[in-house]
Every structure is written in C-alpha cells, then in structure tokens.
C-alpha cells in the first residue's frame, strides 16, 4: 500500500508539472526585462539631454505645449524611441531564446503564440491610439497612454506566463495613471515605468526562476 501510495503521489506530481508546462510559457527570461530596462534608461537619458540641454527648453514645456513640439524634435524622439524598442525586443528575443534552449523547450509553441497574441491586441490598440492622439495634437497625454496600454497588454498576456508579469503590468498601469494626473513629467514616468520597473521585475524573475537552474 505504501509503495502504491508513492506511485500515485508521483503520478500527481508529474501531472501537475505537465499541466503547468503546457499551460504557461515559462522560458521568458528575466534578463530580457533587465536589458529592456537598461536600454530604456539610455534612451531616456538621451531624450532628456536632447530636450533640456541641447535644445534648452524650459522644463516640461515641451510635453505640455504642442506648439513647441516641432518636427525636428518629434523625429529625433521618435527615432530614439524606435531604437530603444528595437533593442529591447531583440534582447528580449535573444535571452528568451537562450533560456528556452537551456530548458530544452521550443520557443514557438501553442502557448507562446497565444501569449504574443494576447500581448499584441492591447499593445497595437494603444500604439494606434497614441498616433491618433498625436494627430489631434494631444501630445501631453501620450506618455501615460503608452504606459497604461503597455500595462494592460502585460496583464492580458500574463495568464500564459509567470505571475510576476501581471504585477509588472499593474505597476505600469498605476504609473501611467499618476502620469496622467501629473502632466508635464512624461519623461520621468516613462523612465520609471519602462526603465526602472523592467529592471526591478527582470531581476526578481531572474533570481526566482533562472539562477538556480
């Protein structure tokens, strides 16, 4: 009977592990988050330098007043954001790829596809909505819009991966909402959300799931 019990217990453990592996994407690497955060900090530092030192704008006037938002500045900031996004995605892909290899799992499986889809729906919506806001000249609310939609994307995608992503998403939404109240400090809240929060959660995830592997 004891032996039987042991076998049953092991059966249950095995079932639990298979269910977990086939319902969530566990190869997401914390290092992806850390690097995305570092790139965001570099990009934000550049933007800060460009706006407040190179162009010597009075602090916060640029984001508040759309009239100051001239074409050259818009282009440079857009490129800056684009490069940060590209580097963040590339490093995210790279570290997650390495992590899934280490775990002996395929990176493209039904779960990771569902995860990407769940992430992209709110994210693309937010991106388009931000473009519409620019079109209307409502640039002062863009930083909070991107933070809020990014947070909602993470919350939506988190049902297919580790729980920490949900908390990262909630913190982005909160930062975005505070940003929307405290208009004019978009760059600061962006740095906090996309930079600092990614590094914090990336580090937590790295020590929680990867270091001991």
């Amino acid at each position: 009977m004891d032996n039987e019990n042991k076998k049953h217990l092991e059966d249950l453990k095995e079932i639990r592990s298979i269910m977990e592996r086939s319902s969530s994407f566990l190869s997401l690497s914390g290092l992806s988050g850390i690097f995305a955060g570092i790139f965001a900090l570099i990009g934000a530092s550049f933007a800060y330098w460009y706006i407040y030192i190179y162009h010597a704008f009075k602090r916060s006037s640029i984001i508040v007043n759309p009239i100051d938002f001239n074409f050259e500045i818009a282009t440079v900031l857009f490129l800056d954001a684009g490069i940060v996004l590209f580097l963040a995605l590339a490093s995210g892909y790279w570290f997650t790829y390495k992590n899934s290899k280490k775990k002996g799992l395929k990176m493209w499986n039904p779960i990771s596809k569902k995860l990407i889809f769940a992430l992209l729906i709110p994210l693309v919506t937010g991106g388009l909505f931000s473009l519409i806001l620019i079109w209307h000249g409502a640039t002062f609310i863009i930083s909070s819009t991107t933070l809020i939609f990014y947070g909602l994307s993470l919350i939506n995608a988190s049902k297919y991966t580790v729980r920490d992503i949900r908390y990262l998403g909630i913190s982005q939404v909160i930062i975005g909402l505070v940003d929307a109240i405290d208009i004019g400090y978009g760059l600061f809240y962006w740095t906090l959300g996309f930079g600092v929060m990614h590094i914090i959660y990336g580090t937590i995830m790295y020590f929680k799931y990867e270091k001991n592997d």
């Binding site: 009977m1 019990n5 049953h8 217990l9 059966d11 249950l12 095995e14 079932i15 298979i18 269910m19 592996r21 086939s22 319902s23 799992l105 395929k106 499986n109 039904p110 779960i111």
Partner: protein
Amino acid sequence: MKSIIQNINKFFESRVRLGIMSVLTVQDKADFNYLKEMLNLTDGNLASHLRTLENKGYISVNKKFVGRKTQTNYYATNEGRIAFKNHLDALENLIHGGK
C-alpha cells in the same frame, strides 16, 4: 474505502496516458509533435498510446492537410475529461484519506 479504490482507473496506470490527458485537458488541442516534445516520447510509443486512448473514446483525432503535410490534432472528449478528472480525484482521496 472500497469505493474510492474502485474509482482509480486502471486504464490510467500508464504515465504516458496520464501525460497525454494532462496536456489535452489544459489545452483545447495539441498536435503530435507538441505532445512528443512535451512528454519526451518516441514516435512509436506516443502513437500507440494515442491509439489506445482514441479507441477508448477519451480523445478524438482530426487530420487535416497544411500544404502537403498532414497535421494531426488531438482533442480530449468529454468522456475523457470526466474519466481523467475522476481518476485525479480518486488519487487525491487515496493519498489524503489513506494515511
């Protein structure tokens, strides 16, 4: 006590069958390669257990052509889900109640 043991489904004594049912109750469907990778099995071993499960009516199979290749998807039937759930409940009862 006796009734609890009766609920233990002999059919699920195989780890492979348990594994297949675990995947298919969490995912609505899975193809052959995914099951193979997830459960770390050889083609032959997996195929024979899939056939057994299908014959028992616990899973259903759907073959379709994607380009020139066939893609075979497996689904858990309602009957299969219920049988698997009963088996899990029985296992739990046995472990918690049997002490």
